[in-house]
């Protein structure tokens, strides 16, 4: 394993941040309180050290101290704004070296320089180094965590937006309305059941957005209404059944919209693409302590080497968010034909 000399010598984090990342993580300049605190921490030691240790050239000594402090503060300010900045990291190493060396040389060259003055400068050098190291490490960690937090928040917002899109497919809605409109106008008796099913579907789906988890039995109800709408639209091209085992299988919690996404996929890829139509069977059972949800269609089967669509990859992400590695979502074409989409996950009966 190669030694990382930066870590060996400097014990500083390696990651550098881009300007955009810094802007995102630290949008505001340092607060006034912080500036005042820094000012006090500069003035008090300078005045104190000058008064306590100053010798013959007390004023010059004070001025040198102040100058050193200002350089340290500049480096601190830089580290605060960009904890990955090269110059800030460099200052953490070079400042104490330069100050130590400077103090050593001054002790030999400047006549009448007191030992206490040299020690005071060495102390300040050590203190400055420590302060810089602390500022860089602390601030670096802060920016890293803040960025991760913002990423996570954006991912959640994104997911919620995708969920909203996944739930109300405009294509589905307008196609259903097209049928409804025609049947109302022609006084077809299918208009009333279609309106009922569509209303039921919207009533069951709209609250999905506000809930983190939904019981299988509620989600299955949304799927039933959806299938009822499609049944009216597609006529004998669609046959369907929903069989949810009573007990834990019905009461188990799932991220909302998962089952519905699988059913929509079965309709879109299994039934609507088949000339003769197909059958969709939905089932939920508990097997060996795990919830097994399956959506089976007798359509053409999954296309070879096909990538997940938006709905499916979104469903996978939501499943992983809720259960981590404990849940799986598989889509397979069994030898007998058709397509089976299966979710297996732990049986979760209440939110922790």
């Amino acid at each position: 394993m190669a030694l990382d000399w930066r870590t060996v010598f400097m014990m500083l984090p390696k990651r550098r941040f881009s300007a955009a990342e810094l802007q995102r993580a630290i949008p505001d300049p340092p607060s006034l309180s912080l500036k005042v605190a820094v000012a006090i921490n500069v003035i008090v030691p300078v005045v104190g050290f000058t008064w306590a240790f100053g010798g013959a050239h007390r004023l010059a000594f004070g001025a040198v101290l102040l100058l050193i402090m200002l350089v340290v503060v500049a480096a601190l300010a830089l580290a605060w704004r960009d904890p990955g900045h090269r110059i800030a990291h460099g200052a953490y190493v070079t400042l104490p070296l330069a100050l130590g060396l400077g103090a050593g040389i001054a002790a030999k060259v400047v006549p009448g320089l007191k030992t206490t003055e040299v020690v005071a400068i060495a102390l300040i050098a050590g203190g400055a180094s420590l302060a810089l190291w602390f500022a860089i490490v602390y601030r670096h960690k802060y920016v890293e965590m803040r960025l991760a937090e913002l990423d996570e928040r954006e991912r959640r917002v994104d997911m919620a937006r995708q969920l909203a899109q996944a739930q109300i497919q405009p294509h589905f809605l307008f196609n259903s309305l097209a049928s409804l409109q025609h049947w109302v106008r022609t006084r077809d008796e299918r208009a009333a059941p279609l309106l009922d099913a569509l209303t039921g579907f919207l009533r069951a789906t709209l609250p999905l957005f506000d809930r983190p988890m939904l019981r299988v039995v509620d989600e299955a109800q949304a799927a039933r209404e959806y299938l009822a709408v499609m049944q009216l639209r597609l006529g004998d091209r669609l046959a369907w059944s929903v069989a949810i085992d009573e007990g834990d299988a019905a009461q188990a919690l799932l991220p909302p919209g998962l089952l519905l996404t699988l059913v929509e996929n079965a309709i879109e890829h299994g039934v609507q693409r088949t000339l003769a139509g197909a059958e969709v069977r939905v089932s939920a059972q508990v097997h060996a302590g795990r919830l097994c949800l399956a959506v089976h269609d007798t359509g053409p089967g999954p296309a070879r080497a096909s990538a997940d669509g938006v709905g499916l990859s979104n469903a996978r992400a939501r499943l992983a968010q809720a259960f981590g590695d404990a849940a799986t979502l598989t889509v397979q074409g069994p030898p007998a034909g058709g397509c089976v989409a299966r979710i297996e996950c732990p049986v979760l009966l209440s939110l922790p």
Partner: protein, 253 residues
Amino acid sequence: MNTPTVLIADDEEAPRAQLLAALRRVWPEARVVAECVNGVDAWDAFLEHEPQVALLDIRMPGLTGIEVAQRIAGRAAVVFVTAFGDHALAAFDAGAVDYVMKPVDPDRLAQAVERLRPRLVQGAALAPEGLQALLSQLAGLSGKRALLDVIQAGVGKEVRLIRTDEVIYFEADSRYTRVVHEGGEALIRTPLKELLAQLDETRFWQVHRSVIVNQRWIAAAVRVDEGQMHLTLRGRDDKLPVSRHFQTQFKGQ
């Protein structure tokens, strides 16, 4: 003036009926020659009736509306009928493609009809330029269809498996499709128009409403007289007719 002929296609009953009703209202002089329930029907009906206008739903089983329009290749004016949220809409807005949204608004349909009317005059181009390129781009977006590898043909008590590679040609034969292959012949129940959607179109060329041929076996296209052409096959005596629509794919380089 001759009566404009129209084909409409939608896989759902109600939108199809609604489109038909709206069309009758806004364009009473047009004659609807075919009402199709899927893409393969639409393409077959186009070959049969040769309408001047095709109103096509986009999402249909068999062939999508886009794929049907691609095959029509400018020989009819195409208007797409689709619901909001279709991926193709953005491309349509940018291109010269006409479309109406479902539920169909009669005023909007009348506008589309008004726009295509001048194109129906003898000799005018039925499709705007660049349409084919746009359609092939859109057809690619909707993903690859599942292709048939093996054909299962019942012969007496056995079911024979014929690899599509070994098929020489398919021919529609009243209620059956005749499969002529390297090892003989068989009859299957799947109609030719449905087979068409499951074959690789770069290898299997449709040359007639009732004939699809494996291009590997074509020896020559022979022009008999004005408007008539047939294909001769390698090492076989069969002659296959090429109907007018498909003759353009045989042109010397």
